[in-house]
């Protein structure tokens, strides 16, 4: 089959219907008794250009699928003149005569030259060139009947005539294709700027996305992800973290306790109890990040939420130093706000670390340069407070059965909301829990 046949119409497929052509095809059993509005598979065929069915944005999907009438198969395959079989007995040696061939060439060329469209041209091609009943095909059959001396000559004539007709066909094909490109495709133009989002859009929550992003940074360094319960026992949330019952730092945790009060249960105030669970359950060395939800007794307003996300990291190994902490936090800060930003550690206090520090990152907006201030991101501080960190307090290690003389470790933690607020310029923390889809959708699925 010449390759040009298929390109005659880009919408048309000459690939036969697999079911119709299958060897086991049994036309009588194909459509089951649809004498009354019986079921018919919805056709997957695309309508021809310009046909009435192309306006098929039928609003009621179900109706269109259910009641479409059985329509004739529009595929060209069904119209193929495959039944025009030449009678093998009627071989006419005269058909190879120069005059006859010339006449065939003239007729074919004339017909091809006046073909009105690509469909007609394709039919003419079958009629004059490729079809089994085409004069050239009939003439070719006569070749074998000629005595050898004449056969070569007749063959050459036949080839020349064939080439001439094919040339005429190719020429007309080019003309008609050009014409189609110029007219039909222009007529088929649509407005591609029409909104096309018939599928509703969805989105990941920005805190989930940020948490995943940060987790990935640490996982790439070799950390693993540890998790724990949100309703937690006091021992994990406070006691083992060097926060005894009367520790003054407890009051700053604004803890939500589970009823009854004496049960020892509470909603974890930080993700640090996961550190304890990790040290109790995993062999050393331990390198984990712990993302999760935490709770404080704060009503929802612009800057407070009773529920908020944290991400903590913990490394316990032999020879871990504060220098390792600094280096790790630099990687962390870059993941949050971009590279090239200075970090600083400020001495601070947490019961579960000693020494302790606050992590500040240079403000990505003003970088502390007065020329870029006033700065709404850092209020001209030049630094953004990101989280707390320090070397794991020896008491914490002891409570987890780790020898503080042999092992040391660092831990750091940060609030996801605050980081997301800075990163995405969110002004109200309640936006994270309100669930307004306008807020959520702005983050999309690719965050």
């Amino acid at each position: 089959m010449p390759p040009s046949t298929q390109s005659a119409d880009p919408h048309r497929s000459d690939v036969p219907d697999p079911s119709a052509a299958s060897a086991g095809g049994d036309p009588s059993s194909r459509r089951t008794g649809p004498e009354h509005a019986g079921p018919v598979r919805p056709s997957a065929d695309r309508p021809e250009p310009g046909s009435a069915a192309s306006n098929s944005a039928v609003p009621d999907r179900a109706a269109s699928e259910r009641t479409e009438p059985d329509r004739p198969d529009p595929r060209p395959g069904s119209q193929r003149p495959s039944s025009q079989r030449g009678d093998p007995a009627s071989v006419d040696p005269g058909a190879l005569g120069p005059d006859r061939l010339e006449q065939v060439r003239l007729q074919a060329s004339a017909a091809i030259a006046t073909a009105g469209d690509l469909d007609e041209l394709a039919a003419l091609r079958t009629l004059h060139l490729d079809g089994r009943g085409a004069p050239l095909a009939l003439a070719r059959r006569a070749l074998g009947a000629l005595p050898p001396p004449e056969r070569a000559e007749a063959g050459r004539r036949h080839n020349a005539a064939t080439a001439a007709i094919r040339a005429a066909y190719e020429a007309r094909l080019a003309e008609l294709t050009a014409e189609r490109d110029a007219r039909v495709l222009v007529e088929e133009r649509v407005d591609v700027t029409l909104p096309g989002t018939r599928r509703p859009l969805g989105a990941r929550h920005p805190l989930s996305a940020l948490s995943d992003h940060l987790v990935d940074v640490f996982v790439a360094m070799g950390y693993e992800v540890a998790e724990g319960p949100e309703a937690e026992h006091d021992w994990f949330n406070f006691e083992a973290l060097n926060l005894g019952p009367d520790h003054p730092a407890r009051s700053s945790h604004d803890t939500l306790y589970v009823d009854p009060v004496g049960s020892g249960l509470l909603l974890r105030t930080h993700t640090s109890p996961v550190q304890i669970r990790t040290l109790l359950s995993r062999p050393l060395p331990v390198y984990v990040v712990c993302p999760g939800r935490t709770y404080r007794n704060d009503a929802v307003d612009a800057t407070h939420s009773p529920v908020f996300g944290q991400l903590e990291g913990l490394a316990v190994d032999e020879g871990i130093t504060m220098a390792d902490l600094r280096g790790t936090l630099e990687v962390f800060a870059q993941a949050l706000f971009g590279s090239g930003l200075a970090t600083r550690l400020r001495p601070s206090y947490f019961p579960f670390t000693e020494p302790s520090a606050e992590l500040d990152v240079a403000c990505f907006a003003c970088r502390g340069e007065p020329a870029r201030q006033p700065c709404r991101v850092c209020s001209d501080e030049g630094w953004i407070e990101v989280g707390g960190c320090g070397m794991v307090d020896p008491n914490v290690l002891v409570a987890c059965g780790v020898d503080p003389a042999r092992y040391s470790g660092f831990a750091f933690g940060m609030g996801l909301e605050r980081a997301a607020m800075i990163r995405h310029d969110v002004h109200e923390i309640r936006d994270f829990v309100d669930g307004d889809v306008r807020f959520g959708l702005s983050f999309g699925t690719g965050n």
Binding site: E65, P200, L256, V258, G435
Partner: protein, 893 residues
């Protein structure tokens, strides 16, 4: 803690400007939240003498036409509405052109028929106090014409410092001054020592004196430094015959009690403006000389004091725990039922103060008080914290005691108070000193020199370690063999010797390369080498720590379960669901609104003891109420077409196990202890849920869109399942809160994992959701468990032979679920069936009442050959026969 810079400079005169001090303090771990300049914007206000006063009467009110002399020969006329000054008084006059705080400029103006050339100022107009009572009258000897801003030293700065709870000493000018001095390498004069100079001497005691002597870094401790301590007295009255009798019953909770008495306090005495302003800038209201004095001492030295009206005390003071049924009216006028754990100060009448928290009304000093007993004590932080918490009564005193007050400070602080009262109120200090001292022996820390580098990550030479520790007030010595003997120990190691002796430490047990360190009395937070490491490296600067990365062993990445959870979230988002994270608190009415029966696991709520709001006091047992609330919020804001999802923990109360004992923290708890703790936790499965309202396909130019239906809810479950790799089986069920006829039970591997469908109209009404709202909820933990248990996928043999497609239409009773018919067809068609598609469902007159026509396409194919028509038809016919047998289906012809 507000620190007034001029006050700080008294202790460290050479300090640079406030901003630099703030930066240095931040670097040392004191978070300066604000540097507030005060009084810098005051200009053109001078001292004037009132020469004459003439009343101007008007209809509305009377004012005065005042002549003030503001220079040798210059008198100005000023209209003034205040009446609290007289001819001859010195007052502050703002002349035309003067600028008052807030940028308020004074001009000459005609008023009440006079040209008023300026303004006579009140303290508040000068920005130095809240007193609106009238004009500020200056001392009579103030030179006329002097600039008031200079005179009163009004230009100042206030540092607002957030002191961390471990550093109680930072709640004083003394403590901050020490840090500031260390930060700039400046000499530091301990105000506590200055305060204690001319003290009536008690009986000296080397052991007691040794520790405070070492407090001043680099300072020569004079013999007077520790004076005022009477040594470790036994319970009972102080040894000094003239001291007020005091009995300390609970010497653990009150390790030090100093009492001093002053008499002859002038009731009309007024706190000088300079000190009043100092108090005001520190955030405390000036009240009276005795109260102001106690507050000044507390702010300056860090020692909370209490002033009793001695005339109202009856009998000896007793420091003890409260007795059952005792009550106390505190200074704030509240009558309090005391708890037997409360530490109180009592006299013959019963409790007169909550120790370290607040005084009582019965012994409160008043305007008539002339004799005062000053209490300077050290109370146990835990005792004070518990009492303050129990009575919800935090005070400046309790804040300091909770964080630790310097127990060596009491005598000096009491003495400083006496001196101020003498100066300001003409009082006379009684000679007697009561000092009941039960301080524990100083702690001794063996500090390996290598420890700083081990944690700090860089070398810290021994001399730096020594110097930095000295700067924070530690006594430092090298390991000395025989230090414990107490004989022949040099001056510099006195403290060490004292500390070693009671501890019974053996000198030679301390190896080389270690220091013996006694922390200063004001640093109860320094107990271990790690604490000392922090002091050294913070003073050296955290910015001097190098930047390295640990060398990690290879990690295993996310677990499969963690990856699946991410995939679920991503899949739902790609299917058009918006993730929300709702607040997981719900009200008591939630089970009712959801229509849950009391035996439903979703009705087993976990309650919060101290909820933020009473109507949201329970933890969620299902994600749906939070999603409903988010949906309604969106609808209220005009977004009606919603597809929301949430993934998160829910909380379900379990049968309450007995509260386990809390494990100790000086060792690892054993596995049984850990299991006991875990046993009392509520169940906290992770669920995923969606809610759908309005349209699933949006309306647009293409048409009106498609409403979200029960099918979309089930489809969401399939989306989740597909992301996990688990196959869900759908069966009809009728679980609330779903519509009983449109509720799908979702199972996997024979386990029920969730439900989906349209919501029950009653639930829709109870929550105010739009009609036909749909929802799905799956137990994600269980689905993931099932996914993890799945063996690796076995790949199908992909046939390259052509398929044989057969379509059939079956008529079944309308109540027969499609799933059953499908199941039967699959079974009948056997291995040749590659795919089965339901492409039409028809109900109508042509097939009869109560029936359904189901049209299926069967794609049949063999792996090893092209099927013959007979083979394909045979498979089809067996499928039909099986459907007929199992579901009563009839082939439609």
């Amino acid at each position: 803690m507000k620190i007034v810079m001029s006050w700080l400079r008294e202790a460290v005169p050479a300090l640079p400007p406030a901003k630099a001090v703030a930066d240095a303090l931040i670097r040392a771990g004191f978070e300066v939240e604000a540097v507030e300049p005060v009084g810098h914007d005051l200009a053109g206000v001078v001292v004037g003498e009132v020469v004459s006063i003439e009343i101007v009467r008007t209809k509305k009110k009377d004012v005065r036409w005042v002549q003030v002399r503001v220079a040798e020969a210059a008198t100005r006329g000023v209209i003034c509405g205040a009446f609290n000054f007289a001819v001859g008084d010195r007052v502050a006059v703002a002349l035309p052109g003067a600028v008052l705080p807030g940028g308020f400029t004074i001009t000459a103006r005609r008023t009440y028929g006079q040209l008023s050339e300026g303004m006579i100022c009140s303290a508040s107009e000068l920005g130095i106090g809240d007193d609106h009572g009238g004009i500020l009258v200056l001392p009579p000897d103030t030179p006329v014409g002097t600039d008031v801003a200079e005179l009163l030293d009004l230009a100042d700065d206030v540092l607002d410092i957030a002191v961390t709870p471990d550093r109680g000493y930072g709640l004083s000018v003394r403590g901050i001054a020490r840090e500031a001095a260390a930060a700039f390498g400046l000499p530091f004069d301990d105000p506590a020592e200055a305060a204690s100079v001319p003290v009536p001497a008690g009986r000296g005691d080397d052991r007691e004196r040794a520790v405070p002597e070492q407090t001043a870094s680099g300072q020569t401790a004079s013999g007077q430094a520790g004076a005022g301590q009477t040594g470790a007295g036994q319970t009972g009255a102080g040894q000094d015959a003239a001291g007020y009798p005091v009995v300390v019953e609970d010497t653990a909770a009150c390790s030090r009690y100093v009492a001093r008495v002053v008499t002859g306090v002038r009731p009309d005495a007024v706190t000088p403006l300079r000190l009043a302003r100092r108090l005001a800038l520190s955030g405390m209201r000036p009240i009276s000389v005795p109260v102001d004095v106690t507050n000044l001492i507390m702010l300056g030295l860090g020692q909370p004091l209490h002033a009793f009206d001695r005339a109202k005390l009856s009998g000896p003071i007793v420091v003890r725990r409260a007795r059952e049924g005792e009550r106390l009216v505190t200074l704030d006028g509240v009558k309090r039922e005391l708890d037997p754990e409360d530490l109180v100060i009592a006299d013959g009448s019963g409790p007169v103060a909550l120790a370290g928290v607040m005084g009582g009304a019965s012994t409160e000093i008043s305007a008539d008080t002339t004799e005062i007993l000053i209490e300077a004590a050290h109370f146990d932080p835990v005792a004070v914290a518990r009492t303050a918490r129990r009575h919800q009564l935090g005070s400046e005193a309790s804040r300091r005691f909770e964080r630790g007050v310097d127990p060596a400070l009491a005598p000096a602080a009491a003495h400083a108070a006496l001196r101020l009262l003498t100066e300001l109120a003409g009082a006379t200090a009684e000679a007697g000193v009561t000092d009941i001292d039960h301080r524990p022996a100083p702690r001794l820390i063996t500090f390996p020199l290598a420890e700083t580098a081990r944690l700090g990550g860089r070398p810290y030479p021994a001399e730096i370690v020594r110097r930095r520790l000295a700067e924070v007030g530690c006594a430092v010595a090298d390991t000395i063999t025989g230090a414990g003997t107490g004989d022949g120990v040099g001056d510099g190691t006195e403290a060490i010797a004292d500390a070693v002796a009671p501890a019974g430490a053996d000198g030679d047990s301390v190896g080389d390369g270690a220091l013996l360190v006694v922390p200063p009395s004001w640093r109860p937070d320094l107990t271990r080498p790690a604490d000392l490491v922090e002091e050294v490296i913070r003073l050296e600067g955290y910015d001097t720590i190098p930047v390295t990365l640990p060398r990690l062993p290879a990690g295993r990445g996310l677990t499969r379960g963690q990856r699946i959870r991410r995939a679920v979230g991503t899949a739902l988002a790609h299917q058009g669901y918006v993730e929300v994270l709702t607040v997981p608190f719900v009200g008591d009415d939630t089970p009712d609104r959801l229509g849950l029966t009391s035996d439903d696991t979703r009705a087993a709520v976990v309650r919060i003891a101290n909820p933020i709001a009473e109507d949201a006091a329970n933890l969620r047992t299902t994600l749906l109420p939070g999603l409903f609330a988010a949906a309604i919020r969106n609808i209220g804001r005009g977004q009606a077409d919603l597809a929301l999802f949430e993934t998160g923990l829910v909380f379900r109360a379990t049968a309450t196990a007995a509260t386990p004992p809390t494990p100790a923290v000086d060792r690892r708890p054993d596995d049984a202890e850990i299991a006991a703790l875990n046993a009392v936790l509520p169940e906290q499965p992770r669920l995923v849920a969606v809610v759908l309202t309005g349209r699933r396909e949006p309306a647009g130019w293409w048409g009106p869109g498609q409403p979200a239906t029960w099918q979309d809810a089930i489809d969401a479950a399939h989306t989740v399942a597909a992301a996990t790799g688990v196959d869900l089986t759908v069966t009809a069920d009728a679980l609330t809160p779903w519509h009983p006829g449109r509720c799908a039970r979702l199972s996997a591997d024979g386990q029920v994992v969730g439900y989906a469908g349209e919501l029950h109209p009653r639930v829709i009404a109870a929550y105010g959701l739009p009609a036909r709202a749909c929802a799905m909820e799956l137990d994600l933990d269980t689905v993931i468990e099932i996914a993890l248990a799945r063996p690796p996928v076995t790949a199908p043999a992909v046939s390259t032979y052509p398929p044989a497609d057969r379509d059939i239409a079956l008529v079944v009773e309308a109540g027969v679920p499609v799933a059953r018919v499908t199941e039967a067809l699959r079974r009948g068609a056997g291995d040749l069936l590659e795919a089965l598609t339901l492409f039409d469902v028809y109900e109508g007159s042509q097939i009869g009442e109560g029936k359904r026509s189901l049209a299926f396409g069967l794609r049949l194919r063999a792996v090893d050959r092209t099927l013959t028509a007979q083979e394909a038809n045979a498979a089809r016919d067996v499928a039909i026969a099986e459907a007929t047998r199992l579901t009563g289906a009839v082939l439609r012809t």
